[in-house]
Each structure stands twice: as C-alpha cells, then as structure tokens.
Symmetry: C2
Subunit: 694 residues, 2 copies
C-alpha cells in the first residue's frame, strides 16, 4: 500500500522548477523592461545582506541581554515574568532597533504552584511518627542570586496536594516495566516509590505507579545521569564546575499533554469554555515531589509527603513582534522561544531569548534604517508559560489556527540556545536540512580557526545519505520538548529546533546539570556553559541566517526530496520490521505504482511553487488518526512509544497487536497502514506537476 | 463572545481591493510595456465569451443526452451504470468537443441490493398464516421501458434481511415524537410500524422505532404528500400527469452517514482497511421496506416482511474530466453530479448529467478550437453510487483531501437540474449569492419574453437584505442531500446547488412525484417535467455562466460581506433565542470588540486576495466539533436537529440542555459557543488586511 508508492515522484516538480524560474524571472534583473513590481516579485536573497547580518551579530550584546533577562527569577505569570514582558516590549518597540510592531497577547491559563505559606515537605519517620529526617525545602545557596525570595521551592507542577505516608520502595525510572517487575516481589500497595529522572516522562512516573496502589512518588536526579558520577560540592560540583550540587532539584511540569489543559483546542480567553478540572487527563493521580540526590541517598523507613500544591487560572502573556513582508506580507516565517523559566533560567530559556533579542536588534535596525525589508513577513514570538506545558505557543496556534495554517512557511525554535559549546545540533522536518546546512556553512565555528559551524558539526554527528554522501545528522521532531510542538504536530508547519550542544565523548549528562534548578543563573552560564558567549553568537548567526533565507528566497529553500529520503527510510524500517507478520495476516504493505516524471509548465508562478512547498507538511495532517493524543495530527512525526524510526501510528499499533494478538488490534495496524498510505499519497499528489489534476 | 465580534471587518479588505487591483493590473491592458506573462496574469472574464457560451447551449442537445443516458436503468455498479461510464468517457474524450483529459476513478464500495432470486415480500395473513394479501413486488407498467428486467425491485438499501411478523401500527412519519406518543397507548413490542415518507430521514424511521420493540417498518408515499391528493391511475396519475401512480414506490438508501461506510475518512481502494460491517452505525437495526400507497391503503391484520437484501463490496466508478487552467492551473473550480440512478433516473440524476454534458460540449469545443482556455482549471466529476450515500464524491474528497483542500476555489453541484419549470432555485454559502445573481441576470427565463432567470426568480422567492434590498432568496447548504456534502462539510469548500423548481402555489408535492420510482423516465421528463427542455437549457446557461466566471475572473467573484450578513442573522437568532437563559447560567454571549478599518497595501498580489476568498470557508472547519457526525466539520453549516437558523452546534446543544437541565449539557452549550466564536474570529482574521499579522 505504501511500498514504493508515489515517494519516487515526490517533489520532482519543485526541484526542476527552481532552474526554470531563475531563467523566467531573470529577464527583469538589471533591466527596466517591466513594471517595477515585477522586480519586487523577482526579489531574492541578497548575499551581501547575509554578510552584514553575520558581522553585526554581537556576542557581548547577547551576554548583556542574558544578564538583564536573568536578574530575577521569572517563572510564568510572576512579577519577574512581567518584568521580562516589559523588557521584550521595550526592546521590540525601540525606535532605532525595534520591529515594525510589537504587542502583548494574554491568555488565562491553568497553572500549578507550591503554597509559599505551606511549603511541601518530605519527612522520614519511625513507626511512632518521630521525624528522623526532613528533606531540605530549598536548594543550598552558593551565590546571592540563588537566595532571591522569588526562587520557587522545588515542586512537581500539577501534582495533586496530599499527605501520603508509607514505606519507601526504589522503582528505578518509574517506567511501566519498572513497576511491573517490582510488583512481582513487593506488594506496592500503600508504598511511596522513589524514582530517578529519565526513561519516562515526569508525570508518567506517577501515572504508571498508581495502578499498583502506590500512594506517592519521589523523583531525584541521579549523579550518574547528570554529573558523570560526581557528587561533592566541596570541589566537584557547582560553583566549581557545571555539575549539579547535591541539593539541586530539577523542577518541572508533570502533565503529559501540552497547551492549557482547561481549554483543549480553544484559545484560553476570558469567555472561553473551560472543562471541569476533574476531566483533565494526563496529570499525576497521586502526590509526587522532586528531590536532590543529597536527600535521596539517606532516605529510609517510612516516608511522608506533605504536598500543598494548588492550581490557579492566571494571566500569561506572549510578547509578539513583527517585521512586515514587502512582496508577500501574507506569508509568515515564525521564530520563537519561551520567556518563562523555573527560576532564573539563564540557559532555559534565556539563552534563546538573548539570542532572539540580538537577532531582532540587528534586523530591526536594518529595517528602521530602510536598508532591508524581507520578502515575507517575520513573526517573533516570546511565549509564556512554556514550562507548564508549552501553553503560550499552543494557545497562540489555537487562536490563529486558520490564518497560521494557511500562511506560515516555517517555524524556527531556539529555546536553550547553548547546552554546551561543542557542536551545532538541529532537529526538524527533513525538508529543512538543506537550509540549515547552507546557513551553517556561512558561520564560523566558535573558538576554531577557519572552520565553519557545518565543518565542525559533521565531525560530531553524521550519517551517509544516498543523495548527499556524508552529512551532519539532523534529528526528528517527534516529541513535544519545546514550543515547536504545536506548530509541527497541531498545525503541520515545517519546523526546526536549533542549539549548540555537548561533546558526548566528554559527558554523559542527561542534560546540562543545572537544568530547572536554582543554579541555572547568569553566573553559571557565563562561567561554565559559554564563557565569552561565542556559541550563543554562532547560534544567533546560524538561526538568523536560516530566518533570512526563508524570508527572502524567491523560491522557498525547502527540499522535499530530502523529505522523500526520510520517508524511504521509514518505509524500509517498516517493511523489515512488520512485513512478514502482516503478510501472514493477509495485510498487504503495498504494491508498486509507477513513478511519473514531472514536467513544469512555464506559466506556473513562483507563488504556486512556494505554496506546494509551504503546504507539504499540512498534507500529512490527519486530525482523527490519534484521537487520544492531544494535538498530534502529523502522521509522520506524531509521538510514538514503540521507539522505531518509522510511521508512528503503525509502529505503536503493531507493538500493541503483537503483544495482545487480538484481531481487533491487528485491525488497528491495518487502519494505520491505510492512514499513513493515504497521507503519503495525498502529500505526493500535492507535489506533482501543478497541471496534474486530481 | 461572538456578539458583534469581528464580523464588522469581515472582508473589508477583499472588497476594497478589487478596485485597486483593477487599477494596478490595468497598466498592461492593450499595452505592450510588460512581458507577455503579465498579460496572462491580468486576464479577466471575457463578456463576449459568456455570450458565445450562452448562445451555443442547446436544449435539443440536452434532450438527446437525456435520451441516451436513460436508455436503460443505471443503478450504481450495474451493467447499465457501466454503459453510462462508457458514454461519459466517449463524450469527454471526443477529439472535437471533449475535454483536455478524462478518466475513470474506481472505488470498492459497500452497497446493498435486493436478491433477484428471492424478491422481498410483504404479506398480510390471518392468525392461521393464510396469506390474505401480498404486496406487489414490482410497480405497474404503463410504458415498455418500465418493464426492463433491470428495473430493481423497490427496496430499502441497507435494510437488514429478516422475516418479522406482527400487528401493523400506524406511526405517522416515524419521528422520535411519533413513536413516543404512540407508545403511550399501544404496546409497540413485536409490532410492524407503517410510516409515511417525510418528516424523518429514511433510515431514521427504523432507527427511531427499534428502541420501542418494533420489529419491522414499512414506509409508503402518501398521496397528500406527493400527489396533491390525487390517487387514480385511470385519469389522474402518470401517464396522464406527473403524479405518482398508486403502485409507485420510492426507493432509497436508508443509511444516515455518507461515503463508503466500511472506509470512513479513507478512500475505498483495494488495500484500504475496512471496519467490520457490524461496527457500521446509522443503518436500520430492523428490516424496513418501502411500498406504494395502493398497498398501504389495504393493509390490515398481521403483516409479515420477508426481506432478502444482501450487502456486497462492488466496484463503483467516478468519471473525471478536466480543462487545464492557463494562468493558475493549481486553482480548481469543480462542477459535478452523480451518474447513478435507482431505475432510469431521467430526472434524478440524468437531467443534471445531460446539462453537464452540454456544458462540456460547448466549453470543450471552444478549448479544442483554441478559442478559450480558462484562467483556472476546471474539474468535472460524474460521481458513482450517490444514491447509496454520496459515495463516489465522498471517496474522491477523502482520496485527494490535501490537494482539493488547498486548491479548490468552489464546487458547483447540479444534480436534479429540473424538478419543475417555474423558477430557479439555489442554495449555497452566502458568498456565492452574488455570482449566481450575476449569472442569472444574463440568462433568459424559459418560456418568457424579455424576462431574465433572475427577474422571474425574484417573484417566486425573495427576501430583503440590509445591503441589497429585495433579492432572490438562496438557501443554506446545511444537509447532505446531494454530492455537495463532502465538499461543503468535509473539505470546507465554498459550494452551491442549482436547479429549476416548482411553483409552490400550484403543488404541495414533497418532491417531483416519480422520484426514485420506475416512472422517472425520458418519457416522464419530456412530457411532464420540461417539454422542450427549455428549463434544462436555462440551468445549463446559468450554471455554466457561474462556472466560467469562477474560472476566469481575475479576482474571485465571492462576496464575503454577504457571508457576514448571514452570520449577523445567525447571531441575532442566537441572541434572541438563547441569551437570556445563558446569562442566567453566567455564560456570556460576548462583548463588543472594536471593528477596524482595513486598508490594503499596493504590493498585495491578486493571488493573495484570491487565496483569502478561496480559503474563507476552510477557516470555519473544526474536525473535532461534531465527533458523532461523520464528515461534518463546518461550524456554520453542519446539520442540526434543532431547526433554528443559527449556529448548528450551539442550537443543538442548547435544545439538549434546555430539555435535560443537566449542568454537563449546559457546559456543552458553552463549549459550542466557544467553538463558533473561535471559528468566526479565526475566519475574520484571515480576511483583514494581508499585512495584519497574528
């Protein structure tokens, strides 16, 4: 059904056309034979502008942005958050380096906080309820900023309040299999499970536990997972290195779905209908609390959790800024990052926000000085309440669903701009691979002589492509790790996520160690993550270059034959994993269909070609394919638990049917095969010659 | 929330723009200052072409088309159906009057037939099972064609086979309220209900009956509903008039959903996953059979049904034909009608097919002779298996979902072209009102001197519009009565349905009396419906004119301020019906929001404006708003049982909550208010100034 289907002809047309168009529109370049708007229509990327942009992006500006953004903790909807809103607005409304327009967009969203008057407690008692040990309520401080009263107590957002008490059992990572194995030897009823971060989502550790009768969950950060085993704050951990001090606790949002949970698919405005809170799915059914490894190592006996979290609907702001397009104002390139942090958030997210502000400063000034105006419109989004479940970006996509779906060319996400300063890292739809490569080749690698970001990258992470040979490996955007999720999975907009990251030969840290802790400060970032801010500068240059090229190119630089290459890989994986079993059940994976050659007709306009490219990902959407997964509609990139690099619906349905053996489950495999097949054929149909009618 | 919301600015931009564009593109008209493709881009409707088209549309050609199409019964997937496929292909592939290309598109679809070897029986017996009366198995014949062995026995498609026997009870129209009332005085368990056509959908008459224990249903055509009370075939009914003979039986499909029921949302191709037949919803749970009023009037005592219907997956063909666009080949105007009938189907659907063939003959010749090529592409669809539930058109929209969604400008449906010859009748999205008016003003009314179709129409059906004064009334496309359903409700494509119809002062017939009977023949059509075929000609001219204008206009002739007028009416109705009760439940219907003035920037291209217009209806889609209604996604036009001319989801939710009083039902009212509000705001957002960014 899918096999060797139309993938072969995917995007022959668009590729062919670039050449034709360049000839076609070339007639007006430098001449004066046509009306002036013909020149506008034929406007393409100006390489001297790229050079000017790259030279003006300044590392010290980024450093100062970060210093300003991280003065105080700025958790979503707090006074510190409002301070960053004002700062963004001031910068984007600046007369000399601001944007065409900037404003605040507010949503009333459902958040969860610890109660400052009743801090959450975890205590160890003996059978007579004598408290033998109380877990620390705040992280140990090494620098004054960590002492800010606005530092929120470590907590699990959306954990219910409650006071469970029970014997402690170690449940590894809190995966379904962890509890299953444990349950074979231990009666889990009435116990408190202690788990370590990783392996399963935060909320999943509690959701997986509850069916076994577990009444509370602790989650700690294991030094092996985050600190390459180092544990001592006398000389090994921060402030001596980037490693997490023993008392550091990773905060986080413990919900599974993204977007405001009271208003699924609707923008969370004042009048909007809100579902009853008891109808929310995907949140912990039992209290859960994160702790540091210092405390995790001494827990014994009975443990009591006193969790006082409460929920509240609060006003959260996105800050929006725009540069209007000159030729196609109704085509949008969106660049975004969240603004809210858990504490000071120097890396997460302020590294990305500092980079965004430097981009807008350089581009804004060019616009204000009349040196440049992009062909297409650029929208900058500083999203609110990401840490609570990508809320600001999700609400934005719900509110402007139709307009964004119809007109958005691509979304660029730069959240944590610099995890570490070894190499570029990028994920995205395969069609953006080429434009990221192009941009990365034009940027110098930080701290290296005569080496481009691209040349450095290919040394750290590469693969062999049938079409291109050895190239850097870009990842798949299959999860919901940052604000690209609503753009990629809900709207079906071609998206990418860009950062600088680790040398994996030097650390096994699951993520940078101060992640979501009180130690994620300007001091930490400037001392241990990117002294000199050269990696930040490289990200600003690379991502900004991608942005300019997407906004200015005559023909959109999205390469759909690279998409086809990935789909072929998906298909090969599916055939090798599933074909035999499916054939034994008389479910056919497909038949050969002829691949046609596409020839363009000359009258085709550049806008028509660009529409084909812009709408390619939209063609993969199926709003009914994953009814249980909030906002996942993209048949190729939806999240999957099967862990196979192939069609996610098919992979999950197969894993499920293979386990249960039930024929209704095999029907679902066949169903997802049809869904994927129809989506791919439908997408391919949008890419063939424009005069080829359905 | 909805109240006085952005409706005010809906489409200010597009309206303003027409003038600007005409000035903008005018520079190239008649001059040679620009490259030749500039002239193509600025190409607009040629009025002399319209005149040529109107003069060449020939009533006798339509008559001969109809004669050929109705030679034999052509029920879906029968030999007669294949004969019409061949005929369409021959005509559309003709070297002199054919189209650019034409082909067959096949689907394997789930149909239901009576068993020719075991005809369905309805018998009246006494308690000892002696047969007192057997209902006729075939209609009485008056002309040789009605004797064709291919005339299918009257039956209810998708009625289960079965042999129920019980006391007959009269259940009026088989509405829920009919059974409810009846159940208060009669024990319905084990009875056979006899119902008359009308009031409830065909399948609903059995679906509504089953919960009361009814074991079988008969449905007859009441002479008061169809024949203005006339009953005698000696001198009153066909062949003496257009009225239905006593033995005439209306066949029909008794399913509620449309499209192939085994492959919801998937094109019914060979490999496609099919749901188990027992999972189909919306079909009669008990046997049901249609009968004529001759038999209905003599039924007494116990009645036995012997229904031998069976289901089968069969190959059904759409025939597709295209004319490629010259300037915008990737913009489609689709014109369609189904091809399959229940018997000879001279009116339903061959009147429409004959009209379509005349359109394609005239347009095809212009193209073949090089006199014309439309600006946009035109797709003609001759759909298969409509009578079984709009199957051919629904499968087509499923197969080409993305491509059609992205590129289709409008869908024109002409199914029964002529119900009667009094006046034009049209339904559609309000944005098509103006183009239908324009076309109807250019066509002479059949049989009248110096009177246009428009002038005649306004006498029969009119309303007063705040913007336009007294104008003909066009209906809403809220149901699924013909093949526009999948285009309007599933794809959200601006659609219309056009026909010639009754003088309601002369007949109360529910529909033309031979509808779905063996008497719907060429003889019937040419003698009683449209002698001389002048009304057919008027429909060919009017619908063809609409088609040409949609295909050739520089700026799409879709008027969104007329859409706004209807939305205002919807809103007024909603406020007057619901506001008081909603406010008492603290659900706000909205607040005033400022209406901005839209100003266009000159660089805006005609394609960008047209995209706004083309995609307006797409912006109203919400695939999750009506989870129980197959393929209904259009928030404004979805079917509704509340019978109020306002937002359908809101109206149904309100009726339900008002009845139950449950707070969860009032929540659903609030939810649908939010859904409608967000859809309207989202649509309005797509219509404001193109440089106005979200």
């Amino acid at each position: 059904m899918i096999k060797k289907v139309l993938i072969g002809i995917v995007c022959g047309a668009a590729v062919l056309t670039v050449g034709i168009l360049i000839g076609h529109f070339g007639i007006t370049k430098g001449g004066s034979s046509g009306p002036s708007w013909v020149e506008d229509v034929a406007k393409d990327v100006d390489q001297s502008l790229i050079e000017k942009f790259l030279s003006e992006v300044d590392n010290i500006q980024i450093q100062e942005n970060l210093r300003e953004l991280t003065k105080v903790p700025h958790m979503a909807t707090t006074a510190g958050d409002e301070q960053t809103v004002q700062f963004m607005l001031k910068r984007w409304q600046d007369a000399e380096t601001g944007l065409d327009d900037a404003w605040r967009e507010e949503y009333l969203v459902y958040l969860s906080f610890p109660d400052p008057k009743n801090p959450n407690k975890v205590t160890v008692g003996d059978p007579s309820d004598t408290v033998l040990h109380a877990i620390r309520e705040k992280e140990k401080t090494y620098n004054p900023e960590e002492d800010d009263p606005a530092v929120v107590q470590p907590y699990a957002a959306y954990s219910p309040a409650g006071h469970p008490k029970g014997k402690l059992v170690y449940a590894n990572q809190g995966k379904p299999s962890d509890y299953q194995v444990l349950n074979q030897t231990v009666d889990l009823r009435g116990t408190i499970a202690i788990t370590r971060y990783g392996g399963a989502g935060r909320g999943a550790k509690a959701i997986n536990a509850a069916p076994y009768g577990v009444i509370g969950v602790l989650v700690y950060t294991d030094p092996l997972d985050i600190n390459d085993g180092l544990m001592s704050d006398i000389n090994e951990t921060y402030p001596h290195s980037w490693y997490l001090p023993p008392s550091g606790v990773e905060r986080g949002s413990f919900n599974v779905q993204f977007g405001d949970m009271l208003t699924p698919y609707l923008a969370a405005k004042e009048d909007t209908y809100r579902i009853p809170a008891e109808d929310i799915t995907g949140i912990p059914p039992i209290p859960i609390q994160p702790i540091g490894f210092e405390d995790a190592y001494i827990l014994i006996c009975d443990v009591k959790l006193d969790i006082f979290n409460y929920e509240e609907v609060k006003n959260s702001s996105n800050v929006m800024g725009i540069i209007r397009g000159s030729v196609e104002p109704d085509r949008y390139v969106i660049y975004g990052n969240h603004r809210d942090s858990w504490v000071h958030g120097a890396i997460d997210p302020s590294s990305g926000t500092s980079v965004m502000l430097e981009l807008t400063r350089v581009l804004g000034r060019m616009v204000k000085q009349g040196q440049w105006r992009p062909r297409r419109s650029i929208i900058f989004g500083s999203w609110g309440a990401e840490e609570f479940g990508l809320i600001g970006s999700a609400e934005y996509t719900e509110q402007y669903f139709a307009k964004l779906s119809e007109r958005t060319v691509a979304y660029i996400n730069v959240d944590i701009a610099v995890f570490a300063n070894a190499t570029l890292s990028a994920s995205g739809m395969p069609s953006v691979q080429n434009i990221i490569f192009t941009a990365a080749k034009q940027v110098d690698a930080p701290g290296l002589v005569s080496t481009s970001v691209y040349d450095n990258w290919i040394k750290y992470s590469n693969r062999t492509s049938p079409a291109h040979g050895v190239i850097p490996r870009i990842g798949y955007l299959t999860g919901a790790g940052s604000d690209y999720a609503a753009f990629a999975h809900y709207l079906g907009i071609t998206s990418m996520d860009i950062s600088y990251t680790y040398d994996r030969s030097k650390t096994n840290a699951r993520i940078y160690p101060a992640y979501h802790t009180a130690y994620d400060t300007f001091n930490y970032a400037s001392k241990f993550i990117d002294p000199g801010f050269l990696s930040h500068q490289a990200i600003a240059r690379t991502a900004g270059n991608v942005l300019i090229q997407l906004a200015d190119s005559l023909v959109l630089p999205l390469n759909c034959s690279d998409y086809a290459e990935t789909l072929e890989d998906y298909l090969k994986t599916a055939v090798s994993l599933y074909e035999e079993k499916l054939e034994s059940r008389k479910i056919s994976m497909g038949k050969n269909r002829g691949a046609g050659d596409a020839t363009m007709q000359r009258d085709t306009s550049v806008r028509a070609i660009n529409d084909q490219l812009m709408l390619l990902d939209r063609a993969f959407l199926d709003p009914l394919a994953f009814p249980d997964k909030y906002a996942y509609r993209h048949v190729i990139w939806a999240s999957s638990s099967a862990g196979q690099p192939t069609f996610p619906g098919l992979a999950d349905a197969f894993a499920n049917a293979d386990l249960s053996g039930q024929s209704s489950d095999w029907n679902k495999v066949h169903y997802h095969l049809s869904v994927a097949s129809q989506a791919i054929e439908g997408a391919a149909q949008t890419l063939v010659d424009l005069s080829d009618l359905p």
